[in-house]
């Protein structure tokens, strides 16, 4: 086996040093009944060529997003990632290193995390950020539980504009932890209902902007209402590129901002791995979940970075930890940071403007299709439309024209009664030809 360096001679010699007659002897603590004598019923080892063939065949059964017109968003977005990003994250020193617990030989990773935290704080308009979470949805759940720790209240109100997967994840996890989760009904313009629901038991309200229907909302009034009731405002964003165009959560009064960072530096990957962004106001930092990297000095007074405030974490606090999380999404965060370093202020703003422009073009084109009703008033790069009949069936039918027309809302939540709603996103990778192909296909199908 190509990955196993020991030779039969090595093994024999090592057993001699150990003083064991055989490797079986080393497994003697395993109850005899549980020791498998035979190989399990699985194929034997295979060479690279064979493995590549099998996986290549599986990959070929899928239709990559880049193969033609493609309009899926709803929490994951197809953006162009510079080649530099993927090159650097594959460097052995980043790819094959562990969590930077030994800071003397992990300054590469640590400094990147410090840069990452600073970038996330800047994007969200908040004071501090952690070193990343698993993804946006789990970051959302963690934010809700953090609000519980901060406010010592148990109720969380989730806006009807929150991505249903985020709501479900939060419900599963935060509910398990003892919270009452109030999920409001799905609605394109869901934010008025949020304010109405806030009461004195409310730990937090969770509002997404741009929301799952693409709607961009100024959440300032929600923040005021929440703060008046002693609750925290958590602002969720699933499209991190929107930070380049839209007012930041911090500017609008958010106490905690969480986001899916996939859009910057990371491929679609059929849903993962992604990278959760998590930022909050400075005064809340000690209730923050996840890893944190902080600046310090070494024994010679030189600037350096370490993982810090780990007294919040499970490996120190065990059952009293703020969270059970013991990892981050380091390599995805690295990709995020490199891509954002390449973009810079100028590039991110251009990219966001470009996305918005493409979406406006898309919206205008959709609005011209008879039978299609655009539901989203103000948007960043995604709109919801109402189509005649079942949106999922329509998407499937349009595949015949080579067009992947977006995400039917029923895919996210079959119970919402929004089977005729379709979500369509455009990014800088969308061309006018793509939009024309979509419109032509729609007109053919809906026209009939």
């Amino acid at each position: 086996m190509r990955y196993l360096p020991l030779t039969p001679d090595d093994r024999a010699e090592m057993l001699g040093v150990i003083g064991a007659p055989s490797v079986d002897e080393l497994f003697k603590d395993v109850p005899a009944a549980a020791r498998a004598q035979d190989l399990f019923d699985l194929p034997l080892h295979a060479g690279e060529l064979e493995v590549e063939r099998e996986l290549g065949q599986l990959a070929a059964l899928n239709r990559p997003a880049g193969d033609g017109p493609f309009f899926c968003g709803a929490g994951a977005y197809r953006h162009h990632v510079p080649a530099t990003v993927d090159h650097v994250i594959q460097r052995s020193e980043f790819l094959t290193s562990y969590t930077p617990y030994q800071p003397e030989i992990a300054q590469g990773t640590l400094q990147v995390l410090f840069e990452f935290q600073t970038q996330v704080a800047a994007l969200t308009g908040l004071d501090v950020a952690n070193a990343s979470m698993y993804d946006g949805s789990t970051a959302c759940a963690e934010a809700v539980m953090m609000a519980q720790r901060v406010t010592r209240r148990e109720k969380a109100i989730l806006s009807g504009g929150l991505h249903p997967h985020y709501a479900a994840t939060t419900q599963t996890i935060a509910h398990a932890e003892g919270m009452e989760i109030v999920r409001q009904s799905a609605a394109v313009d869901a934010e008025a209902a949020v304010i109405a629901a806030i009461d004195a038991e409310t730990a937090c309200v969770v509002v997404q902007t741009p929301n799952v229907f693409g709607v961009v909302t100024d959440v300032t009034r929600i923040a005021e209402a929440a703060h008046a009731a002693g609750a925290l405002l958590i602002v969720v964003t699933t499209e991190a590129v929107s930070y380049g165009l839209l007012k930041s959560p911090g500017e609008m009064g958010a106490d905690i901002a969480v986001a899916e960072g996939q859009s910057i530096g990371n491929a679609l990957n059929y849903g993962g791995p992604y990278v959760g962004l998590f930022a909050c106001r400075e005064k809340l930092v000690r209730q923050m979940p996840g890893r944190l990297c902080g600046e310090t000095v070494d024994a010679e007074g030189r600037r350096g970075y370490v993982l810090t405030l780990s007294t919040r974490e499970q490996h120190i606090r065990r059952e009293k930890a703020t969270s059970n999380i013991c990892t981050n999404s380091g390599l995805c965060a690295l990709a995020f940071t490199i891509h954002l370093s390449l973009l810079g202020e100028t590039g991110l703003r251009q990219l966001a403007a470009l996305n918005h422009g493409r979406a406006r073009e898309l919206k205008a084109a959709l609005a011209g299709v008879a039978g299609v009703e655009v539901l989203t008033p103000r948007f960043f790069n995604e709109v919801a439309v109402r189509v005649p009949g079942d949106a999922a069936a329509l998407v499937e039918a349009l595949l015949a024209d080579g067009v992947v027309a977006g995400v039917p809302y029923s895919r996210l939540d079959p119970h919402a009664g929004l089977d005729d709603v379709l979500l369509l996103a455009a990014t800088e990778t969308t061309t006018s030809d793509d939009i024309a192909a979509l419109v032509a296909a729609l007109q053919r199908k809906i026209g009939r």
Binding site: P5, L42, E54, R91, D298, N324, E345, G347, E396
Partner: protein, 496 residues
Amino acid sequence: QDEPLLFELGGWEKTGVDLPAPEHDASDLGDLVRAAPIGLPGLSEPEAMRHYVRLSQKNHAIDLALYPLGSCTMKHNPRLNEKMARLAGFADLHPLQPQSTTQGALQLMDRLAHWLKTLTGMPAVALSPKAGAHGELCGLLAIRAAHEAAGHGHRRRVLVPTSAHGTNPATAAFVGYSVTEIAQTDDGRVDLSDLESKLSDDVAAIMVTNPNTCGLFERDILEISRLTHEAGAYFYCDGANFNAIVGRVRPGDLGVDAMHINLHKTFSTPHGGGGPGAGPVVLSAALAPFAPAPWVVHGEGGLHLVEEAIDEAAQAFGRMCAFQGQMGMFVRAYAYMRSHGADGLRQVAEDAVLNANYIKARLSSVMTPAFPEGPCMHEALFDDSWLEDTGITTLDFAKAMIDEGFHPMTMYFPLVVHGAMLIEPTETESKRELDRFCDALEALAQAAKAGDAERFKGAPYLAPLRRLDETLAARKPKLTWRPEPTTVAPAPLAAE
């Protein structure tokens, strides 16, 4: 050499991308548009490349030398896996595109599930958890759901051995369970009689790591699971150490009800400086109905991803995250499994255990093994009694290893051993590298005993930085870069 921060290198007007000018008029978003500067300096591409390449060289990595972190299974990360994960058919696939266009991805998930189930002897697996601790949470939520479905919602206590990973009690507490510790015997195993005395009808589960964190196989594991099941509790196994037994022992045969599998440990997906990981959870028949969405089923016209339990499986306890989990890691882990095959995986466990025992044997003459009797599994545990009177601590010794070109072992864990040093070589180390490592540690140990304390107290000397002041970092946390007060703030960018 000091490498400045991005924020000290970059410029507000610099960018390392070329984007076409937006063709459209200003948006109608009005005051929803961000006016103030974001605060993101940019770098041209050559500058960015150099910045991050320079930073990378400050890291240790498996690709450079032995990385003997106990409990972390730092093994070789095959680049074939990276290549496969980057095939457009996997990497450029949207999680919500029509399932008819992702049949290959669903097949891959299905095959991965088949391998995991076969290797563990368990009937079901939940693929979506994103890391080991996330998998623990998934397992305990399944256990809680099962108890509640059976009317046993009063079972709110979880038994955890003193040697457990911190995530075990943290996860149990997280789902609202109280934690009771189980004592350990002198030979480093669960104390059966203590376990028996603490099992009662309010116990929901026990959480046992096996092989345990002392690197030892729980000899009484069948008795443990029998007692647990008799008490009406479930047996959660922490699978962090699965590498020691993969291909040789099936947890299902030990009576395990739920176990997470760190794909980044046993199945070689890269650690990436701290994630992303992946923590699928295998489940027994009793727990399988409670597995969270989504899962793959075989249906007409191919595979189908069930994303929300509507009818038959309405017992699913919910959802662990958006979408399907760590697909990129699934591809890598599957490529690894297929490469090894049933025969190779068995050899993995054998070589991992052999390597650890070899280190234990070689270093026992200079260091004190915590459990000298009998073989260890895939990691060798030493205590610090051999350092007594030298004035050198486990930490000092570990930091001195850095000067020899090695990453330190895991220190002060498990907590049950004083000044613990937990060494896990993994199966991908050659005898030559093991000997190089043992030679270096022997020499260091002799220097320690010879009283050369300065070599240790001041170590590392040869790393990019000397010891970092962690107290300072925690006392007054500085978590983001901010311009020096004297620095002129960048001019606000004109709104576009």
